[in-house]
Symmetry: D2
Amino acid sequence: MKKGFASDNNSGVLPAVFKAMEAANNGHVLGYGNDPFTQKAISLFKERFGEDTEVFFVFNGTGANVLGLSSITQSFHSIICAETAHIQEDECGAPEKFTGCKLIPIEPVHGKITPEAVLPHLKGFEFEHHSQPRVISISQVTEMGTVYKPEEVQALAELAHRNGMYLHMDGARIANAAVSLGLDFRKFTRDCGVDVLSFGGTKNGMMMGEAVLFFNPELSRLTKYIRKQSTQLYSKMRFVGAQFVAYFENDLWKEPATQANKMAKLLESEVTKIPQIRITEPVEANGIFAEIPRKLIEPLQKEFFFYIWNEQTSEVRWMCSFDTTEEEIMSFTKLIKKLLYLKT
Amino acid sequence: MKKGFASDNNSGVLPAVFKAMEAANNGHVLGYGNDPFTQKAISLFKERFGEDTEVFFVFNGTGANVLGLSSITQSFHSIICAETAHIQEDECGAPEKFTGCKLIPIEPVHGKITPEAVLPHLKGFEFEHHSQPRVISISQVTEMGTVYKPEEVQALAELAHRNGMYLHMDGARIANAAVSLGLDFRKFTRDCGVDVLSFGGTKNGMMMGEAVLFFNPELSRLTKYIRKQSTQLYSKMRFVGAQFVAYFENDLWKEPATQANKMAKLLESEVTKIPQIRITEPVEANGIFAEIPRKLIEPLQKEFFFYIWNEQTSEVRWMCSFDTTEEEIMSFTKLIKKLLYLKT
Amino acid sequence: MKKGFASDNNSGVLPAVFKAMEAANNGHVLGYGNDPFTQKAISLFKERFGEDTEVFFVFNGTGANVLGLSSITQSFHSIICAETAHIQEDECGAPEKFTGCKLIPIEPVHGKITPEAVLPHLKGFEFEHHSQPRVISISQVTEMGTVYKPEEVQALAELAHRNGMYLHMDGARIANAAVSLGLDFRKFTRDCGVDVLSFGGTKNGMMMGEAVLFFNPELSRLTKYIRKQSTQLYSKMRFVGAQFVAYFENDLWKEPATQANKMAKLLESEVTKIPQIRITEPVEANGIFAEIPRKLIEPLQKEFFFYIWNEQTSEVRWMCSFDTTEEEIMSFTKLIKKLLYLKT
Amino acid sequence: MKKGFASDNNSGVLPAVFKAMEAANNGHVLGYGNDPFTQKAISLFKERFGEDTEVFFVFNGTGANVLGLSSITQSFHSIICAETAHIQEDECGAPEKFTGCKLIPIEPVHGKITPEAVLPHLKGFEFEHHSQPRVISISQVTEMGTVYKPEEVQALAELAHRNGMYLHMDGARIANAAVSLGLDFRKFTRDCGVDVLSFGGTKNGMMMGEAVLFFNPELSRLTKYIRKQSTQLYSKMRFVGAQFVAYFENDLWKEPATQANKMAKLLESEVTKIPQIRITEPVEANGIFAEIPRKLIEPLQKEFFFYIWNEQTSEVRWMCSFDTTEEEIMSFTKLIKKLLYLKT
């Protein structure tokens, strides 16, 4: 299949990550995380996020979100998130099914929610007829390709904590956020008051495997049971551990995220020159949203596959990946122009 | 406690209903619905709604909604309703907990939702990442005291059915709706395409007991198991059956609902005369919503208890009940005027 | 329907209980338990069980068990009970559905379980692959008509507590147990270490309504939300409160339970004289289990309905109720003898 | 870590499987299974099990069981299995949590259940108080290292189907069973009436990934939604697909399973010579269960780690893996003898 802009999970695995898995494929180790690779990976997370961070590896992003949210809720709680959040739109109701909680979707601005928008939903505390607000959940990078600034995260954390609630962050694209902000992971997560973090690797060149991080050990006291019961405990966990070890070594994660973000900016700057295209969201990481002439969609998709975001408005999503190249961006924009009969 | 305007469930039981329960308290009958009172009640429902209607009695309104919704959903479905719906705001997440489904709240206009507002949420069919839209749920009377017209119900039913979905109606105050519309129950439910109906009696003078009606027997094939598993199967069911028998005899239900609605209209007409009070929702059944001067609330509540609906806007809810009297309305409005130093 | 021996829930409501409900049917009171009847009933429970007892009223026995068990478990726990327990056999999986827990059924002896039988299942603690043992649940009276002695309850409580677990008691027929033991309720529940008790009234002459009692307030900190979410919060709760007030006044509960138990003993003594009948369980409360000639079953059921317990062994269950009379017992045994061509 | 006999999941990945993953790590493919590797793997399953087989890949064994069972049950059903079954003992209640069903454990003989043992639990059909029997679930290889013969599978399937139920097979070690029986996979699964099969690969040399197979397409009509909602949908599914393609090519799976089974038989024949050791279960695949002198356990574990199965009886489990060697078996038995002061 020709490379396109469908999703950053259409790409494969970073060679260094693959090599690390191969090196881990050697003899016997105990299962379910009691192996040196997993233990090493956990210690690398602790280095980055603080020694009292609790780390649980799972298979995938939905699993990570479900595990994190289940650990900090009871079924009569509610979880407040953006209408566009992955947990609201793209997990087929896994959070409701597993936690039993109500999700309260809020209309976001450029994929982000604000304390002002959350506030009206912080009601009914102690009133048994009403699902009890318990979690504010945000995505970093958001599903609209934007990035919360540290002070924005902090404001939401403070609002949550003032109300006895927690701040959960879905960091499926956290590497792209770190690169975009130019900050260490910790600076815009734990240091801003995030309580539970889904730390994703798959979309930035790992094969599979995400980590759920708890910055208050009390919150994860029962998480190991929840992980098993939620089907997310991996027997040969060394193969996730080894990936994360490689991922952090020499900050391996930085280069692919940088490349993906850079390609998105390049694409942005190229299509900005095309008057028939309107970029709809700030381009702050590796995704671009744009309204394009409807007639463009089909012929473009044939050469570079991508998804339509909004049929009504003819809005599309273009995701750049760690292996997206400058040549591809240029060919793509050249094709757009050609299809529009622009001089190229 | 002095009568007030807190809720129509603060009132007691209609004497005729009580007498019927007493008459049913005689000797042995089989449990769990295999008794003549329950069977008679079922036949009375069938008379009103059609012989192929399937009828399941439960204890209360939340139980009725949970049973009806569970019967027509799987956990990966979604249920679309007004932001103000009882199932969204007032059941502490019982629908999510029991069905596993996602609830999608829509901003209503005067408590009602329209096909136009529902339409953008009918998406992602067959796309496994997205909770599958399955049910549109409306309340009749709505939680804002308004009443869907038959053609409004029908338009939503048609939208649902066109998309392979069902229309669920929470009829906790269905008697008030029937009186308001001047229509037989069937005319604005089954005949308009409602698939599943929570038929409430408690708020209109019964002691406890609601019925879940299915207008397509296929939908309720497994409902008896769900009722038991959801804790809503009543052993001495004759005491619900007997109530409904009395409720339908000589259309007993009509008078209390008529009185409650009438009192609400009277209250409306009285407070409309007071310039400091702004009625916020059309008064179509037995509830009134009004923004009133903040300083009025506490002294008024002392004499006639009621609930604040919206702290921010100083909006209150006044519910009339079957036993609300003209004298009470007049004393209440007199007190308002007195508190406002109006001439009374 | 002619009275029979099918179930103690086939009987109606004690006149004094009915009268109390009627007296409560007067004017307005707040809903959901904030009424004087409910508050009075709670105080009567506290008198009997200790001032720090937490009391939650629900509609029925399955609701009571689900609420009690949900309050003290998380979904990765297990609940150990007799194979014959109501929660295992007769609630259509409501405990699993609502708690998410695993139920571990143990083969009982005469309906009872012992520490010795429970012990082998107390394993896998801290081992995340294994459902974590959390609750031992017993029924008092058991489903086989037997009664745990205080020291038997205590032994199970001690075993539970030694292992960080709780003892739950399903007291659907607790009045019959109290009469059988000749002890105050507290003596064989809280004083023996029971942590959570479903206190039943329906089978002993109430219309509906059970209480869930917690003897450690910490355990019920979140119970009010669980009650609402489990559909068991009753709006017009005064009608349960009023019943319990009457039930405790002058120990009203004692007479009906005494009568039911007495009738069971009478029936036992009568059928013991019939050589073709073998009583299979000790008769300690109001139920009798007996193997009888198969040909007897149908003609007997025609006159006095009852249920077959075990088709294979031709074992039947005869339940006596508060309104079972000596005459009925004598007619019943006379009929048995007649059907067996014995001299009567 | 030195190789031992702890579990067949302590081993790594077969070189050919690893190589296939590496080959798949090339450019972009669509996510979530719409890639050529996954499609090819599906077609290989269809070749082996029939063209109308429906195939769903998941991450792990618990995920496979949960997905298969969820697809064929509703929450008021029950699932009958051996007391020793993985779904009963080793999944921390994941089946109950996700399906809501009751699991009914049966005492097995050598890990197997029989129609005779299942029969008494096939009761209460149509009786709404009782969890409705829906699934018989067996493990092949069983958790006790034994293998169901085709006629044993068939007898259970017939019993299930006669009662409107399904037969589910947990084939976490299905390759070891196939080798043990000398039969193609289909011969002892679909051809014997199995309806749903968890087809495991991880314990036989894959990195991760299991397949859930449905032999009646109607049963899996909604499975894709359940897979997503149960967190088991893998974005980069090609890396599971590629493994299975390699696994089936030239029957790659056969050699490792053969080796593991062979080593178990060798170990059996060696320890049989030691009078202080009593083998407790027939050795029919790659696991051995034996009662050994208690004092042996610790020193043996130091050199070759393994798990204690039953503390009381000093029974241990030794699992052989695809990479267990003859030398290891001989060193191990030599050490046993040495510890027992036997001549070696």
